[in-house]
């Protein structure tokens, strides 16, 4: 499974394009992670190439790397993710 995540939707769409290519090549599926309250974005992720979208409730506080990393870790474990594409924004890094 290939996981794609960026807190910036535009960046996530771009990554989905590459994630799709990679998954097709490796015969895997693409999981897109959305951390936020707006579930309608899940449809956009599907439209941009995701097979599955995981929508996670955001932590109560503003962005804390460790809390976001915990959510990613949980998805990686549960969905048996082998490849991860993360947007290289400042928070992404």
């Amino acid at each position: 499974m290939v996981l794609v995540y960026s807190e910036r939707n535009e960046l996530a769409y771009e990554l989905l394009c590459k994630g799709r290519e990679l998954a097709d090549k490796l015969d895997k599926k693409v999981v897109s992670l959305v951390i936020g309250e707006d579930k309608s974005i899940a449809d956009d992720m599907i439209a941009h190439g995701a097979d599955t979208v995981v929508v996670a409730k955001p932590p109560v506080s503003d962005f804390k790397a460790e809390e976001y990393a915990d959510i990613l870790k949980q998805v990686v474990d549960e969905k048996m993710i082998e490849n991860i594409l993360i947007g290289s924004s400042k928070n992404g890094r």
């Binding site: 503003d62 962005f63 790397a65 460790e66 990393a69 400042k90 890094r93």
Partner: protein, 256 residues
């Protein structure tokens, strides 16, 4: 307030301003290039000195580098760091190994309140070391800080995220990565340079630190990016040429 223990992690980088690219192979010519302390890491050292000036405490600088890094560590001791640790490296360490080494050295130091790093290095600009260190040490981080206030039992950092600035506070110990806007690194005086000769530089090897990690990432090629114009000219301003130009620009994604 008890005395603060501040650790600053610095990287040795080639001076990119002197770097040339071989026009045939596109590879950067690194032979004979002087190394220096990564510019943004000097901002981290400066910030450590400012914190010490205000609150007291001690500053330890750590680097992974070649033996000649010792000379450049003296520069940081002259600026105001109290002691330095040099971990000799072979040059093939990736970020995971570098961070394992730094974390092992920090654990050996044992007590620390604030760990400062530059946001990234001017050579590779991955920005990985600070966040990785926080992960390995299991402590909070505030990255891309362009304004830092240290109080009795907490730090408040303004994160520069480009389109916005976010203020965060954290307990200590904490990892802070700084941007170059945070301050202007000082130039040491002659007396400080002479005085630095008496400050200790410890050498801790990978073996004594017990780090056996091997690089996980392999650099396959390193090439300079050359910028070239396409030199496509649509000469006369005929309707046909204008149409060709517009079609071309659309095809290239310039307009559309």
């Amino acid at each position: 307030m008890r005395s603060l223990k501040i650790i600053v992690c610095v990287k040795q980088v080639v001076d990119a301003s002197d770097m040339k690219i071989d026009p045939n192979t596109k590879k950067p010519i690194l032979a004979g290039l002087e190394k220096k302390v990564n510019d943004i890491d000097k901002n981290a050292v400066e910030e450590a000195i400012k914190i010490k000036e205000k609150h007291g405490g001690s500053i330890t600088v750590i680097t992974v580098g070649e033996p000649d890094a010792r000379e450049r560590l003296k520069e940081l001791l002259a600026m105001g760091a109290d002691e330095a640790v040099l971990i000799p490296g072979s040059g093939d360490e990736d970020y995971s190994v570098i961070t394992e080494l730094l974390a092992a050295a920090i654990k050996k130091i044992g007590e620390y309140d604030i760990i400062l790093c530059g946001e990234a290095s001017t050579d590779m600009f991955s920005g990985q070391v600070g966040p990785r260190l926080a992960g390995l040490l299991g402590i909070p981080q505030i990255t891309y800080v362009h304004n830092l206030v240290v109080e009795k039992d907490k730090v408040i950092g303004e994160r520069n995220l480009g389109d916005k600035s976010i203020t965060m506070e954290s307990s200590m110990p904490v990892v802070i990565t700084v941007t170059k806007e945070i301050n202007e690194p000082r130039l040491p005086s002659l007396m400080q340079i002479l005085g630095a000769a008496n400050k200790p530089i410890h050498e801790w090897t990978k073996e004594t630190l017990g780090v056996t990690a091997k690089p996980l990432v392999e650099t396959i090629s390193l090439e300079g990016v050359s910028m070239e114009r396409k030199n496509i000219v649509f000469e006369e301003a005929t309707d046909e040429n204008i149409e060709k130009l517009v079609d071309y620009l659309i095809k290239e994604g310039v307009v559309g």
